[in-house]
Amino acid sequence: MAGERVVLVTGVSRDLGARFARSLAEEDVDVVGIDVVPPRHDLGRSDFIRADIRNPVISKVIATRGVDTVVHLAVVAAPDSAGGRSAMKEINVIGTMQLLAACQKAETFRKLVVQSSISVYGASPRDPAKFTEDMSARAQPRTGFGKDSLEIESYVRGLARRRPDVVVTTLRLANLMGAGVDSHVTRYLSLPVVPRVMGFDARLQFLHPSDAVAALLLVTNRDFPSTFNVGATDIVTLTQALHKMGRPAVGVPQAAAPLAATLVRRAHLVDFSPDQIDALTYGRAMDTSRFAAETGFVPKFSSLAALEEFARAAQPGLLSPERVDTALDVVSQVLRTVVARNG
């Protein structure tokens, strides 16, 4: 049966899509990658078709290539990479709608894997420490990526209802972190001086791209019809992340956070939606035990290890470990003389 499988991967011109298509193509599977822009990364043995999932032509691709599995990775987390919030919404929500409409008609279609996100859980001070798949957001995300992810998931549920013969797997991925990852979180942590909400130390959960690819491969190759949280099992705090990155932080009162986010956006540094500010204020984490129990998946990278890999590859910050060492040596020298003088 291997070799007859045809997998359609959307969003292959982006980093995660390219990595996934490349790994999958090595496994004796026909991989058809589509995206609206030409691929920037090596796609290995997979084919590339330049097409827009918002265009009905997608159903022709599915029919002519006899696609049996669709892996939907064309979701955009940040408005600036899509060209504005409305374009982002159109890619995420309308794109998913069109793609699923095309899938529903296709007779060869047997399996759907959708990339969702930790942001469906929102972020609020009333959140439990870890979200399981059965919990819903205590504060429903009303804007931005969280809202898009919720709508994507609801369309996916609709398809699962109408096509009960199709295996539908939704993976709620934690924030990607690792060398070379470009997301709103990595851009934020790479700012020379990082504005942060005063008095809050968000808990951050990361997922290394290689673990994300491994999880996607796992659910593509075997059937797990469910929704799963995928992320590293540990968390790091924002303070810890900033120390690892060697970035000094400047406290912003919570009331002024949206204003600060606007300034950062105007400066073309990072684009935040309100739900992402909340996530970086209160923090959130997912319980990944269901995915581990059902699939036996063990992430290779902890959140801390993924962050360290990113920090090693990134520009060293103002408070790099070397500088901290030097400063501490000076301070301890001074203290030692004081102590010696006191006897």
Binding site: P125, A129, G199, D234, I235, V236, T237, L304, V324, N342
Partner: protein, 394 residues
């Protein structure tokens, strides 16, 4: 057949529903006659006719002051005595020490820190290594944001001084604290600010070397800095999911079911337990089949005697109450120094839940009964401790 008997309803005046200032007709009928209509219409101060439940100790022997007529009188008396004592000890402070402070601030700071007993028990190298690891982010926090290193090396040593020197905490029944396995500690909650939780965490760690993971209200996690500190020191949101997750992972969990109702009750209501929530903590303990350990804390009520709550100001600030104490806000930050009351923490015997079976958590009657049992145990222990206590501050 006799004629039907006519039952008069609301005969003591106009049949009305009453208002904020005047009781309703039926309420007037229920009340015992007290000096005719005037008494029925006048607002009654609840303290006036009902003696305070707190067994007030006899005035300290040898004191010339007139016996206090109200709880506040007694409190003020005790405070005055305390103030004069501390003034006397201030006078004995040698002036030469002050001069040394001006001459060499670094040295003075070091010796003051030493005198205050901020004792990290380490050499300079270790302290520097510690700071290095903190600044480079080389430490681990758990999923709740709990940072054991910060808690044991910075937070608890500071609180330990507060517990030992300031509140002179006396722990009774420490043998009831479990050295392994999970358990749910249930305690009374008082004192305007949740210092009782912090002190409880400190003494339990010192007794058995286990960290208490507390469950707190969402306001804690909404408020800047309090969010940060609470998560770092092991507190998490009081919700079913977190309680069960902690209890399932062999943790000692503490809960204060009175919540803000207990924390922000007026001084006149001290040591009267408030409603114990909806019994959610009992359901969690039954589901996890862990014992419930009642804890009574005496002394926390006197640290910030709450006179008024300034509801309008509290609403404007978005907090449950704005505390007005004899010292706050009149003395500014000085008013935030807790009064040095003498604390007694009594750990009660465990109430086991494992013989009930996990299904009992869905039986509201069982949950209510255990809730009541826990509440009564704590209340009776509080009364017993208050009887033994000589004075709130000595």
């Amino acid at each position: 057949m006799a004629d039907a008997k006519i039952i008069q309803l609301g005969s003591g005046g106009p049949a009305d529903r009453g208002s904020r200032t005047s009781p309703s007709a039926s309420a007037r009928r229920l009340a015992p006659p007290q000096g005719g209509r005037r008494a029925a219409n006048s607002r009654q101060a609840p303290e006036a006719d009902e003696p305070p439940i707190t067994p007030e100790p006899d005035p300290t022997p040898g004191s010339e002051e007139a016996p206090a007529t109200s709880p506040f009188g007694a409190l003020v008396n005790e405070l005055l005595k305390l103030a004069s004592r501390s003034l006397r000890s201030l006078k004995s402070l040698p002036i030469s020490q002050l001069e040394a402070l001006v001459a060499d601030p670094v040295h003075a700071f070091a010796s003051v820190a030493q005198a205050m007993g901020v004792d990290w028990d380490e050499s300079l190298e270790e302290i520097v290594a510690f700071i290095r690891s903190r600044l480079q982010g080389d430490y681990a926090v758990d999923a709740f944001g709990f940072d054991p290193e910060f808690t044991t090396r910075i937070y608890l040593p500071v609180l330990r001084r507060l517990a030992d020197a300031w509140f002179r905490v006396e722990v009774r029944g420490a043998e009831n604290l479990p050295v392994d396995g999970s358990a749910l500690l249930v305690s009374n909650h008082a004192g305007t600010l949740p210092l009782d939780g912090m002190i409880l965490q400190t003494v339990v760690y010192d007794e058995i070397g286990r960290h208490v993971r507390m469950l707190g209200a969402d306001l804690i996690f909404k408020t800047p800095y309090s969010h940060d500190l609470a998560r770092k020191t092991g507190t998490t949101l009081a919700c079913q999911e977190d309680a069960e997750r902690l209890l399932a992972s062999n943790q000692l969990v503490a809960v204060f079911p009175e919540g803000f109702k207990g924390l922000g009750k007026p001084y006149a209501d001290r040591y009267k337990l408030q409603r114990f929530g909806r019994g959610g903590f009992v359901a969690a303990a039954i589901r996890a089949q862990v014992p419930i350990i009642p804890i009574a804390i005496v002394g926390s009520e006197e640290i910030y005697p709450l006179i008024a709550k300034a509801p309008a100001l509290a609403r404007a600030l978005g907090v449950p109450y704005f505390p007005i104490t004899p010292l706050f806000p009149w003395f500014g930050p000085l008013g935030m120094i807790p009064l040095p009351s003498k604390w007694i923490i009594q750990v009660g015997e465990a109430i086991t839940t494992d013989e009930l079976g996990p299904g009992a958590a869905d039986d509201p009657m069982i949950v209510f009964n255990i809730t009541d049992q826990v509440r009564e145990t704590i209340q009776q222990t509080l009364y017993a401790l208050l009887m033994q206590r000589r004075n709130a501050f000595l």
